[in-house]
């Protein structure tokens, strides 16, 4: 189990006018799984390749258990990457692919054979050793790629969008398998993804990176419910924003006053509430507003409503039966539970 520290990690590609990754600082606890989350091109894979040693940082340091590994060549770091497109060696059998790392370490063949069998059991593909990669499905290939990485007992497991080439059903299966194996083996794991749900389900902590800069590094729940900026809140899906001013436990805006859970100092702010946290109220009361339904969509498990309150438009996720009561133009009363409200500093883009 390895503790990973990224200290001021920066990568500026030759000819680029801004760094692909800029002054990244992250501490990854031993045995934990951290997701590097962000849209395509934000610097996630660059970060991972620097950790693996496949790219040289322009600045900063990478430490395994408080020891810099920048001078250690990639093949000796024990940071094994699993790529998005599996990259199984097509001319080798599954068993040869899985045993590759041990063979490179000149491990005796009997041990390799035994460990390969163990790994195939672990990824739930026993007896597949004699097959060629082209005879496997995408999901099976990804499992073999995982087994190939795990067989060398890596210090650090680096997973680069390992689920993005799989269809929905396989993605869920593989996601569970990764989590199960990671927990049972206790390998410190970095997981790159652009899918916030995947990151939230898998990771102990998420490092959200936008435009090469770390925005927030926290638990999935904190990122979802207590984002530190409007951009972060928006990255995790539809959020309702209200400009206003907070003073103590009260937030005042055009729609009135709302009780908020944390008593920040007085100042301008942006009140946020997620669509699924808004409830439909039967009567007026604290933290309620009245409006009319602008549109509604039935999506099976729930209904999506757009509700106009004064000049503001709110996205609301209600239970599926709400669609029968609240048609377009119907009056509706919304309640904002205080414990679900979160006040952001002012600013940010709409």
């Amino acid at each position: 189990m390895t503790h990973l520290s990224l200290r001021g990690l920066t990568k500026l590609y030759p000819g680029a006018d801004k760094p692909a990754i800029d002054n990244l600082n992250i501490e990854v606890e031993s045995g934990s799984l951290v997701a590097l989350l962000g849209p395509s091109g934000c610097g996630k894979t660059t970060t991972m390749k620097m950790i693996a040693g496949l790219l040289k940082p322009s600045g900063g340091d990478i430490l395994f258990d408080d020891t810099s590994i920048l001078q250690i060549p990639p093949e000796k770091r024990g940071a094994v990457m699993v790529f998005q497109n599996y990259l199984l060696f097509p001319y080798m059998t599954v068993a040869q692919n899985v045993g590759y790392g041990l063979k490179m370490r000149k491990t005796d063949q009997a041990t390799i054979d035994r460990r390969v069998d163990e790994m195939l059991e672990l990824v739930k593909l026993p007896g597949m050793g004699a097959r060629k990669p082209k005879e496997l499905s995408g999901g099976q290939q990804q499992r073999i790629a995982l087994a190939r990485a795990l067989i060398v007992n890596p210090n650090l497991l680096l997973l680069d969008e390992p689920l993005s080439n799989l269809d929905a059903h396989l993605r869920f299966e593989m996601r569970d398998l990764i989590r199960e194996i990671q927990k049972s083996m206790g390998i410190t794991t970095i997981f790159v993804t652009h899918d916030q749900e995947e990151a939230a389900v898998l990771a102990d902590r998420i490092a959200l990176i936008l435009n090469g800069t770390l925005q927030q590094y926290d638990t999935p729940m904190a990122l979802y419910h207590q984002p530190t900026s409007r951009e972060i809140a928006q990255f995790f899906g539809g959020v309702n924003f209200l400009q206003g001013r907070q003073d103590g436990g009260v937030f005042t805006c055009d729609l009135g006053q709302f009780d908020v859970p944390r008593a920040n100092g007085p100042g301008d702010g942006v009140l946020t509430i997620r669509p699924e946290d808004i409830t439909i109220a039967e009567a007026d009361g604290p933290n309620t507003v009245s409006g009319t339904v602008a549109s509604h969509i039935y999506v099976g498990t729930h209904s999506r409503l757009k509700v106009r309150v004064g000049e503001a438009m709110f996205d609301v996720i209600a239970d599926a039966s709400a669609i029968q009561t609240y048609g377009d133009g119907q009056p509706i009363r919304l309640a904002f539970p205080p414990q679900k409200l979160w006040v952001l500093p002012p600013g940010g883009t709409e």
Partner: protein, 291 residues
């Protein structure tokens, strides 16, 4: 009738006809001549006499066998060394560096130059009376042309091999470079992160991945260097002669009776090339499987 199904075969038919008539026609006629069938001089009875003469007679066998070994040596050495140099250069050219485009341009520059020109160039540069020898003479490093090592028109075919290297390294290189660029470096990165050092990565990843393309190119180069005439004619010696030169000598002999031996030699060249290509493919495929 479903015209759609026969449309492509019909469109290919004229080309296939030309190939069939020219290739199999000439091969068939050559085979008949090697069996002694030559109506032009009134011989229509067929036998294996020309083959016996080439392989065992006191007149032809002493020039055939040394010629065969020389041809095999030149073809193997040219193919293997060209491929090895080309892989090394392609691995360097794949990297990003200042002046890469210029380097790639120079590397491929001699591709369109005919083998004949390369052979003459070799002679002018590296023969004992060539430019390099003269410059070294002017500098006092060699005192006479005889002191300069015989790099052309030598019994070991060094000049011929050098001429082929000059030309075929670029041919191999362009193929290997294209394969490497299309593959990218991810496979090697995986191997590296799994603990493979530089040599292990080359042996277990790069080489097996480029091998199919390399194998095809090797077959072409081997067949060409084994069977071509002009370079060994210019850069070779009177004895031993490479088989294609020998075959043409027989073919051009004013005595039309010698033509059967020339054709027998040509057929032997063809059979050897086919056999060696088959063995080469088998060995390479086996090596790739074992890697």
């Amino acid at each position: 009738m479903d015209w759609e199904k026969i449309r492509i075969p019909l469109m290919l038919a004229p080309t296939m006809l030309i190939i069939t008539v020219l290739f199999f026609g000439s091969l068939g006629y050559g085979l008949l001549q090697s069996f002694g069938y030559n109506p032009a001089i009134g011989t229509t009875e067929m036998s294996l006499e020309a083959y016996r003469s080439v392989l065992f007679s006191a007149e032809v066998a002493p020039v055939f066998w040394p010629g065969l070994w020389l041809s095999l040596w030149v073809a193997f050495a040219s193919t293997f060394i060209s491929a090895a140099i080309a892989i090394g250069v392609a691995l360097l050219l794949r990297r990003t560096f200042v002046g890469k485009k210029l380097a790639v341009f120079f590397f491929q520059l001699n591709l369109p130059i005919p083998h004949l020109v390369i052979a003459v160039g070799m002679l002018m540069l590296f023969s004992q009376s060539g430019l390099v020898s003269r410059i070294l003479g002017e500098m006092g490093i060699v005192t006479s042309p005889r002191d300069f090592p015989p790099l052309t028109q030598d019994a070991y075919g060094i000049g011929i091999i050098l001429a082929y290297l000059w030309k075929e390294v670029a041919f191999f290189g362009i193929i290997v470079l294209a394969i490497l660029q299309s593959l990218g470096e991810d496979y090697e990165s995986v191997a590296q992160s799994l603990g493979a050092n530089r040599w292990q990565r080359f042996r277990t990843v790069t080489l097996p991945l480029i091998m199919p393309g390399l194998m095809s190119a090797s077959i072409i180069v081997f067949a060409f260097t084994f069977g071509t005439y002009e370079v060994p004619r210019i850069l070779g010696v009177q004895h031993p002669k490479m088989l294609p030169v020998l075959a043409l000598d027989f073919f051009l002999n004013p005595d039309l009776n010698a033509r059967a031996e020339g054709m027998a030699l040509s057929m032997i060249i063809a059979v050897i090339v086919f056999a060696l290509v088959f063995v080469y493919m088998w060995i390479t495929a086996r090596t790739v499987r074992k890697a």
